[in-house]
């Protein structure tokens, strides 16, 4: 009765989950206080090992003679999709760990707990990405989320961080409940928790005699997962959590947790429930449009950089949902590409946000960025690149992500969705421009927002001369090497694969769901 275990398939989880438990054990056993950098270095080593095993899995899965495989009685499915998203989650954890020391030292985050929780959460994410059973899926989701709740509240001395943790926890718990109810109903309708059996049952018309139950199951699963990926109208927790939680944790949440949440959505809906796509596609389409538009519009009126990036991450979630909506192999790989690309943009952006703030968490007014281009030109340049990529400008990866997603929508003939999303992208571009304007075009201490500064009568005043070689009294932003490294890597990836997207598109295109074949 004991199922066979392909340990190689579980290598990332072993490195991440097992490694974090070992770290915790050692941390509690050893009486002497470890130096602050030790847990961090250990964490980086473990994520690197996990990344190595993910790469190895990718090679194995892409080998045509071997292909995708499942293990532990078919509850874990290692296909291109799983490996790709595992990679995204692991990279998110890795880069977050690399730039975390800044927060750990300055804001006094507990180093050991940070590493352990991050690794644990990443282990959950990897499990989620490769889950092939509703129960394993839930297991991964909970491991991922519970660790993330604590991560959000890790900056204990600040009330904002505690608030973030509590909000995230309460709403996340609700979401988990929704998900569980949904999973139960799907089990009732399809007679199995195994995803391939569910897919087979649906294809054979299992839903026809319990249609109400099936639809309710879809709806509840969607609601639960929409909470996790912060789709409107289930997004209310996002700005508060992004504002309150420590920056490295937020970066990981935006990049890794979001990717894992979408892993569940995509595997369940684009994969398992593809036979009943007519039932869930309209719901996803509506949510996608609302998410894109609301995320962009709310970003326009927010006056805080963290909240602004939170709303932008909501908008991006909407775009990824557009990929899901087209319900096919193309849409799935488009969503994957978007997740992979967005991970770098988010990680880099939050690394910048971290060095710009005095504290690890807490609000950060837009004015903090006034004239940054003069004080720290390289930091401003990197951030600008990441922001323009998020706006989807050509020759950045952000463009290709939008291109693929919109292409998937167009290919499935959902033109209205493509058109409305693109209009949302323009609104979002304004949001990013607000920050770029701040960095390049606003003198510190000058008037507020670009568009609010329409003073009549200024007319022809030549400010290009008056401000010649003015020196900013504020010192340049101190950028530690670790943070500079992360921003540089993220910007380089964004630009390089923006100019030469073929490998990226191929990677995402090869990352297929085993259910969809290919």
């Amino acid at each position: 009765m004991s199922p066979s275990v392909d340990w190689a398939a579980l290598l990332p989880q072993i490195f991440l989950g097992g490694g974090s438990l070992v770290m915790l054990t050692l941390g509690t056993l050893v009486r002497k206080r470890a130096p602050w950098w030790l847990p961090n270095v250990l964490g980086i080593g473990l994520t690197l090992a996990a990344f190595g095993s993910v790469v190895w899995q990718w090679v194995r899965v892409q080998d045509p003679s071997r292909g995708a495989f499942s293990t532990i009685a078919g509850t874990v499915q290692i296909d291109g999709f799983a490996v790709f998203l595992s990679g995204v989650v692991v990279i998110a954890a890795l880069l977050a760990l690399v730039f975390a020391p800044f927060s750990i030292r300055r804001a006094g985050l507990p180093p050991e707990e940070f590493s352990v929780l991050l690794l644990l959460s990443a282990a959950g994410g990897v499990t989620l990405a490769s889950a092939n059973d509703l129960i394993v899926l839930f297991l991964g989701l909970e491991v991922l989320s519970i660790a993330a709740y604590v991560l959000a509240a890790l900056d204990l001395r600040r009330a904002g961080s505690q608030e973030a943790g509590l909000k995230y926890f309460v709403l996340g718990a609700f979401a988990s409940a929704f998900f569980l109810y949904g999973a139960a109903l799907i089990y009732g309708a399809a007679g199995s928790t195994k995803l391939d059996s569910v897919a087979a049952a649906l294809a054979a018309g299992a839903g026809s005699n319990a249609r109400g139950m099936l639809l309710a199951g879809f709806a509840l699963l969607l609601v639960g997962l929409f909470f996790k990926v912060a789709a409107v109208p289930f997004h209310a927790w996002t700005p508060d959590v992004y504002e309150g939680a420590p920056s490295p944790a937020v970066a990981y949440m935006a990049a890794g947790v979001k990717a894992a949440g979408f892993a569940a959505l995509l595997r369940l809906f684009a994969g398992t429930f593809s036979a009943s796509s007519a039932d869930w596609r309209p719901a996803v389409a509506v949510v996608a449009v609302i998410t894109v538009l609301a995320g962009s519009a709310l970003g326009v009126i927010s006056g805080d950089v963290r909240r602004l990036l939170a709303y932008s991450s909501i908008g991006h979630a909407g775009f990824i949902l557009v990929g899901l909506e087209s319900a096919g192999a193309n849409g799935t790989s488009a969503s994957l590409l978007y997740l992979g690309v967005y991970a770098f943009m988010a990680l880099g952006s939050f690394a910048v946000v971290m060095v710009m703030g005095r504290d690890a968490s807490g609000s950060q007014p837009l004015a903090a960025y006034d004239g940054l281009a003069r004080r720290s030109p390289w930091l401003a340049l990197g951030f600008t690149l990441l922001l323009l990529a998020q706006a989807g400008l050509p020759f950045t990866t952000g463009f290709w992500a939008k291109f693929e997603v919109i292409g998937a929508a167009v290919q499935s003939r959902t033109y209205w969705l493509a058109a409305v999303s693109m209009l949302g992208a323009v609104v979002a571009a304004f949001v990013y421009l607000r920050l770029v304007v701040r960095m390049y075009l606003v003198r510190p201490g000058a008037d507020g927002d670009a568009l609010a500064s329409q003073k009549s009568g200024v007319g022809l005043a030549d400010d290009s001369r008056s401000g010649d070689e003015d020196s900013d009294s504020r010192p340049p932003v101190a950028v530690p090497r670790s943070v500079g490294f992360v921003v540089a890597v993220c910007a380089a990836v964004t630009l390089f694969f923006g100019v030469w997207p073929a490998p990226l598109l191929n990677l995402a295109g090869d990352a297929t769901l085993a259910v969809l074949g290919g």
């Binding site: 292409g407 167009v410 606003v442 022809l460 070689e469």
Partner: protein
Amino acid sequence: MDVVLAAASTPDFPAVLVAVVLTPLVGAVVLAVLPRRSSMLQPVAALFMLAAAALVAWVVVDYTAGAGGFAYLIDQSWVSRIGFSWKLGVDGISLFMLALTALLFPLATLAASPSRDRKSYFVWLLILEFGCLGVFLALDLLLFFLFFEVVLVPMYFLIGQWGHGNARRSAVKFFLFTMFGSALMLVGVLATAFLHSAAAGVPLTFDLVTIAESQVISASAARWAFLAFALGFAVKVPLAGLHTWLPDAHTDAPTAGSVILAGVLLKLGTYGFVRFGLYLFPEASRFFAPLMLTFGVVGIVYGAAVAAMQRDLKRLIAYSSVAHLGFIVLGIFALNVEGLSGGLLQMVNHGITTGALFLLVGWLYERRHTREISELGGLARPAPIMAAVFLLVTLASVGLPGLNGFVGEFLVLLGAFSSHRWWAVAATVGVILAAVYLLWAFGRVFWGRATGENAKLPDLSWRERLVVAPLLALILFLGIYPRPVLDRMEPSVEHLVQHLEEHAPSGADSARPSVGQASP
């Protein structure tokens, strides 16, 4: 369509177009590694632009019109998975756009130098040139879109960082307007490519020639796709109604920015209409021609009327651009050889004359720190050469026979008259209005008694004379002897009109007889 597929010219130097596009980009990289305060920044930037110009000049001279197909084709697969390729080529339509771009950029660079952040200024200018050249050369829908969109970033920074007045607001407005326009264009690009691949049963491709020559997309879908493209171009042109970003951006941009904006960037829209409107969607172009013509005429009259009311000299010229671009749109959507060649010629002319006008206004502003027409006056006495140059350019702009503006305008009206008579009649009113407001403004600025600071205005320096001289030479040359340009243009235009007639006969949906085909 073997006529098109066979490249018209023997490529001695097949990669010349790649070199043209990449030269400014290399220049930008070289400039980026120079020290911030180096005195070599401006010369190096100009050097790279002149190198690109030299390459373009070689192409212009070497180009043999042939059957009007694309020459110097380069087709290198970029992302094979989605059929996206780096495909460049030039024909009689894009040739002179290319030349205009290559000419105006070095002039604008040499004309003025900013007082701060010179390095990033020149880097942005070079990147801007890279984008503009790319737009005119791209023969792949997606590549075109990439270039079309990437132009926004350098222009945004040029306006915002080195502009005057409310530069930030103008920059953001420019960025958002144009991005709004091109947002739906991406949907159009994708829809066109997917529909083509589905209808023709071939793998996905974004190749312009393949898609345009096959014409397999259903008429109704093509109309929607045309509209998606047209919105992007219409904002860029800009057509009346979508033009509100233009006066702000032109007025607040630095001199070089205004020159490039008026001279090159607006042409991206009109060029787009020709290449990706008419060629790609002939039937839809014919269908929407009356609408576009109406926009054109409204632009002519409205631009002229508003320009006449401006108190700011630069704003006046900006609004005159709206009117001139209306003319170009009128010529293009006349859909016959005369109208199209006139429109194309007028694109070049407008680039030259308006570029020169913005240069002159920029220099005036450097001297007087004001552009209010009421504060200027009598400048002809202290600065006779400037006045003479300004007069010549103004006359060219209003279309005086013997100068370049006349030929284009005449051809446009001829073309429009033969296919859409009443629109042409309405447009003629605009010609008269243009003469009124431009000459009126000239008179107020340069004639009369010079008082106060106006009396002490220094004349054009040698450097400024050198910069404006090529433009003046072209104004005269194109006015007296436009033949070499028209000769190179005509086969491609005829080919395009033939393509239009083939896929959307002119008599099919309108009762009005067309004589556009009569005489080449």
